[in-house]
Amino acid sequence: MREISCQEITDTVARLCIEANYYLGEDVLEALRQARESEVSPVGREVLDQILKNADIASREKMPLCQDTGVTVVFLELGQDVHIAGGDLYEAINEGVRKGYQEGYLRKSVVDRPFSARVNTKDNTPAVIHTDIVPGDKLKITVCPKGAGSENMSYLKMLSPAAGRQGVIDFVVDCVDRSGANPCPPVIVGVGIGGTIDQTTLIAKKALLRPVGQPHPDPEVAELEREILERVNKLGIGPQGFGGRVTALAVHVETFPCHIASLPVAVNLQCHSARHKEAIL
């Protein structure tokens, strides 16, 4: 049994909120540099230059990569042998978001009563928190600011099992096509296949946490990722939608067993400002 204090959790979440918004991950930067080299469209290459320049400015000036510092999505891997002391775990996380978004000059973009008055909560809470209980005595926290430009381009379809592998590919490619310039390409395409719809969409989002371009360990899934990526990059949308051959930096697919009568597929798009930072307590 290992004790982790709520104060340590709050301070860690606050730090991760700021770091995720200021510093783009090295895997994302490398993927953008490679895209810059392989993009054939001149305006596409210029856009990628600006994106890389932006990451440099944000890091040096310590300011947000994107003004949309997003809804704060937090993934927890909580070890079975951890005891959370000194308060309520989810409260501690929300306090960390409150602190990080204030101290980091991050935008407060969350509103209550989404269907009516839409009143800003003023502190970017509540965070959207997903918790997995795992063996061990550590707490892993991953903070993912998710902006609405890409998040609004999310899709779910209950395919008939008869649609099969080709149906899945056609659906995913069509989703990226329909989204056009809106999700700020080049995107990372998160795909969830299987589960019930809550699980399908959750694994589509979890797929976005993988280092950019790292294939799925199962060769059959990796082949599916490769095929979808090839088709997506033939759409011609390109960086910021002005035309080009790099519309997606990567496609990450996660799967889960599903009902004999279902083939659920979810697509969660991630913009080029792919932001997430983690810590292990």
Binding site: I57, P64, L65, Q67, K108
Partner: protein, 184 residues
């Protein structure tokens, strides 16, 4: 091409989809919530909190400014959400909009009819874009926070013409150029 505000028809007639231009001068900032208030004012026959004739609206909600800086990070928000409000704003004399992502057919028709242009700034290049903004002030709807109506002074703000007054569309033209069929 370097253009200044207010936008004249003479300048607008020269702009074509895909043109890279810079904007210098005063621009206004408003997005979803501010546009809803604009419509409410127009419905009631009340004046708008700014005179849109000849002006450009930038669809954007900035992150908070650090001490000593005029504004935080300030990249564009997705423009289609403002489509329902745009024809009426163009009727009021608005001549330009900056955002990102494509506009619907109704807006594109209204741009031709009212001689106005839709520009795109680079989404996510928010820290870079902030460098073009020399001054920023809230002029109305302060309680809307990031969604308040703002007036900016910008210098050499880089944008691309998406929709001109001739029916050109940079997104459609770009995609057509690089799109491949599956067996290519």
């Amino acid at each position: 091409m370097r253009i200044t505000t207010p936008l004249t028809d003479e300048v607008i007639e020269k702009l074509r989809a895909g043109d890279k231009v810079t904007i210098t001068g005063t621009i206004y900032v408003g997005r979803d919530a501010a546009h809803k208030r604009f419509m409410e004012a127009l419905d009631k026959g009340e004046p708008l909190p700014f005179d849109p004739k000849g002006q450009i609206i930038y669809y954007m909600g900035p992150s908070p400014a650090k001490p000593g800086k005029p504004i935080g990070s300030a990249g564009p928000t997705t423009a289609y959400r403002m489509d329902p409000y745009t024809p009426r704003m163009l009727e009021q004399g608005l001549k330009g909009m900056i955002g990102k992502g494509n506009r619907g057919p109704e807006v594109r028709e209204a741009l031709k009819k009212h001689k106005a242009v839709y520009f795109a700034a680079i989404g996510g290049a928010a820290a870079l874009i902030a460098n073009s903004i020399k001054k920023a002030e809230v002029i109305a709807y302060e309680e809307l926070g990031a969604e308040a109506l703002r007036r900016l002074e910008v210098e050499d703000f880089p944008v691309i013409v998406v929709n001109d007054i001739y029916g050109g569309d940079a997104y459609e033209e770009g995609k057509a150029k690089y799109r491949m069929t599956n067996d290519q």
